[in-house]
């Protein structure tokens, strides 16, 4: 089977001598026996460490959980600094979690029932693979956009009964945050964990309006029409 890998702006073809294989296994085959310098990231091999996300034919996948097909084109994640071949710098993207202050702001005692746990069970399945970030078109025009996973995580804490100060989180995701999303749904499609950041962002907008925030895009429009 043949696959192509994008390495510093060059497409290189490799012959993979397996009938079927995960992408990760194929990458290891190349590194171990053909070219030691092929560079990629991986760790757990079982889809929970979030390390091995790449793009295949333009779609984000976890290399450990994807079966290669004849002719596949493998590229690094988008909107990340490519360090080498398929390895990207995730540090800057991680900073979005700090910007979103995605944690319990003022923890309070709370009796939590299973229904409440289930409410954000999906969101807390996030493995920080950055696939959603790579799929988000807003990053193309606004590199400072907080992005889907950090907003999902912010939502997860606002929905936690232990959070005593929801507003603090809501305040921190206003600029470059919830209102910048176009609700295109790419992130939802890209997520290997079945998380729906688009929905979480919609929920956060609802919460934000309870605290008096409105969609700045509409405000801008109002002004454009003379401030009715």
């Amino acid at each position: 089977m043949q696959i192509q890998i994008k390495r510093s702006n060059e497409l290189i073809s490799y012959e993979i001598p397996f009938e079927s294989s995960t992408l990760l296994k194929a990458l290891y085959h190349i590194k171990n026996s053909e070219d030691n310098s092929l560079t990629f990231s991986s760790s757990c091999r079982s889809g929970v460490c979030g390390t091995c996300a790449v793009r295949v034919n333009g779609k984000e996948v976890l290399a450990c959980s994807y079966s290669i097909q004849e002719g596949d084109l493998v590229e690094p994640l988008a909107y990340h600094e490519v360090q080498r071949d398929l390895k990207v710098n995730k540090q800057k993207v991680r900073e979005t979690l700090r910007t979103a202050t995605a944690w319990l702001q003022t923890p309070q005692e709370a009796l939590i029932n299973e229904q409440q746990v289930q409410l954000t069970a999906k969101q807390t399945d996030c493995i920080l693979c950055d696939s959603c970030y790579s799929s988000c078109p807003v990053l193309e025009v606004n590199p400072n956009f907080i992005g889907p996973f950090a907003l999902t995580r912010a939502y997860r804490y606002t929905a936690d009964p232990r959070e005593g100060n929801i507003q603090a989180i809501v305040d921190n995701i206003q600029s470059n945050g919830i209102w910048d999303c176009t609700l295109c749904g790419n992130c939802t499609e890209a997520c290997p964990q079945g998380i729906d950041p688009k929905m979480d962002i919609t929920m956060l907008r609802g919460t934000a309006s309870q605290f008096g925030y409105t969609d700045p895009n509409f405000q801008a429009m109002d002004f454009g029409f003379g401030g009715f």
Binding site: N36, F40, S41, C44, C49, G50, T51, T120, I127, R162
Partner: protein, 536 residues
């Protein structure tokens, strides 16, 4: 001067960081990967604490189960301390925001794991480790704890047995750096990757911290104890959880015969499977009779994994399986304060350490407890250390720099270490795995020493300094050889069967000689060992 350097950013490292920071110390957490990529993310089953939320339980019962599983090789005081702290550890995690599942009375839900006399494991769906690790990470961000990713520990910096910090390879830039601190905590995880292609562990479980301690003159212990999980997928070693058997799955051989009661303890089932495989049989897990509806409802994840990795559909086909290495009990030898034996101002915690909790066999759910409970303890204990840094010029950085530079100069090399590493995985599995034999161990140990001596003929093909994962793989491979040598020697010495260590020729526990910890250290360039009797 940095107060505390924490090496390793899994559950143990992050817990230590949070507690030390809370005491007002300055902390820096350094890891070779991103924190959330640590092996802690893989834990599914749960974390033990005798809360008795679902079935009656007591701390004493938790202590008793742990001691029983340890087969005489634990420090009962340490076990007691950890089990007593377990309910508080859960409460601590709860406060940080871990989304544990709940009972109908809104208490933390608990499930049964093997070897426990009650439903004791607190869980967050099948992602207990993931959710604990990510919540710890979120809290480290909140507390503004400084974290350095992609820095690979090379060596500890030691002057007269006092640890002054460590040297690292910055994987991204290729620079060799030193980081000094008043106290150093090692939390680098286990050495399951020795059993490459025959382990559930992550690729990074290469025993780096353990090897570094050994090189620095510290002591490691009980390296021969490795726990095997009976059911992993044959080609990928992906874990198929115990629930498949719990729900009524069968184990069958090529002839279609069942050969063992599937619900016996892990080590017994693993041994039975291994014997079948050794006698030329293939072994399969058969869950077809459970029916499609039940399978898709109860274990969708497993069904998906079988299709992906084995190309079989478990609804209509048999699942090829093998038992694989799952947890490493041995590690850096520490005292009750988690200080590393033979070194000062240096602590070790988590799977990299041997805190005399798990002894000869770990109880499921006790390792997550260990990393949280003892992780916090390590952080607290390291507070206030002062290593009285001397101005003596230390040459560690220079030595490590020279070694790495050398790897970039030498070319070509004759032997491909990846091939050797793959073969080592097979050899560890078949010769130092579930059932052991002295002749095999001895021959293998000799072979491994030859490989060590041949290291000069191996090297890196990738000569680019930046983001060189070939270099990282090679350094990890060397660590594996060092800890592997000790594992083999210790397995050879221990002429008995105890917990996870089983020798056909010595099928019983021999307390007279071997109710003892096997200590290893290097003195004047020679590996030394001693058995130290365990008295409780």
């Amino acid at each position: 001067m940095l107060d505390i350097l924490i090496i390793g950013s899994g559950g143990a490292g992050l817990s230590a960081a949070l507690s030390a920071k809370q005491q007002g110390s300055t902390v820096l957490v350094v890891g070779k990967s991103y924190p959330t990529a640590s092996q802690t993310s893989m834990a599914q089953g749960g974390m033990n604490a005798a809360l008795g939320n679902v079935t009656p339980d007591s701390i004493q019962a938790h202590i008793n189960d742990t001691i029983k599983s340890a087969h005489g090789l634990c420090n009962e005081e340490m076990v007691k301390q950890m089990c007593e702290d377990a309910p508080f550890s859960i409460e601590w995690l709860e406060k940080l925001g871990v989304p544990f599942d709940r009972t109908s009375e809104s208490k933390v839900a608990q499930r049964q794991l093997g070897g426990a006399s009650s439903k004791r494991a607190c869980y967050a769906q099948d992602y207990t480790g993931l959710k604990i690790l990510h919540t710890l990470y979120d809290n480290c961000l909140k507390e503004n704890i400084e974290m350095l990713e992609e820095h690979l520990l090379l060596n500890l910096i030691v002057e007269e047995k006092v640890v002054l910090g460590a040297t690292f390879l910055d994987i991204v830039t290729g620079e060799v750096k030193e980081i000094k601190a008043n106290a150093t905590i090692i939390a680098t995880g286990g050495y399951g990757a020795l059993y490459k292609n025959f382990t559930t562990n992550s690729e990074g479980a290469t025993g780096d911290g353990i090897a570094a301690v050994l090189r620095a003159g510290g002591t490691i212990s009980n390296m021969e104890f490795v726990q095997f999980h009976p059911t992993a997928l044959k080609s990928s070693s992906t874990l198929i959880s115990e629930s498949a058997r719990g729900e009524g799955g069968y184990l069958v051989n090529t002839k279609g015969e069942r050969f063992i009661d599937e619900l016996l303890p892990r080590d017994v089932v693993a041994r039975a499977i291994f014997e079948q495989i050794n006698s030329g049989e293939e072994v399969f897990l058969d869950i077809r009779h459970l029916g499609e509806e039940k399978l898709l409802h109860l274990m969708p994840q497993e069904v998906h994994l079988c299709r992906l990795h084995e190309g079989v559909d478990p609804i209509t086909e048999l699942i090829p399986i093998k038992p694989v290495a799952h947890y490493t009990m041995g590690g850096i030898d520490v005292n009750e304060n988690l200080e590393v034996t033979g070194l000062k101002n240096c602590y070790a915690v988590g799977e990299c350490s041997n805190a005399k909790i798990h002894g000869a066999n770990r109880l499921g759910g006790n390792s997550l407890l260990e990393i949280i409970s003892l992780g916090r303890l390590a952080g607290n204990n390291a507070v206030g250390c002062d290593c009285h840094h001397t101005e003596i010029e230390n040459t560690q950085l220079q030595q490590d720099q020279e070694y790495i530079d050398g790897l970039f100069e030498e070319y070509p090399y004759e032997k491909n270490f990846y091939d050797i590493q793959n073969q080592l995985g097979v050899d560890f599995y078949t010769k130092a795995g579930i059932v052991r034999d002295n002749t095999q161990l001895n021959n293998f140990l000799n072979e491994l020493r030859v490989i060590k001596a041949d290291l000069e003929d191996m090297g890196i093909g990738d000569k680019n300094r930046e983001n060189n994962t070939n270099l990282v793989d090679f350094l990890e491979f060397q660590n594996l050889l060092e800890v592997g040598e000790v594992l083999l020697d210790a397995a050879l010495v221990r002429d008995e069967s105890r917990g996870a260590h089983y020798k056909t020729a010595f099928p019983k526990e021999e307390d007279k000689f071997f109710k003892a910890d096997a200590l290893y250290w290097i003195e004047e360039n020679v590996l030394q060992n001693r058995l130290v009797k365990v008295v409780n």
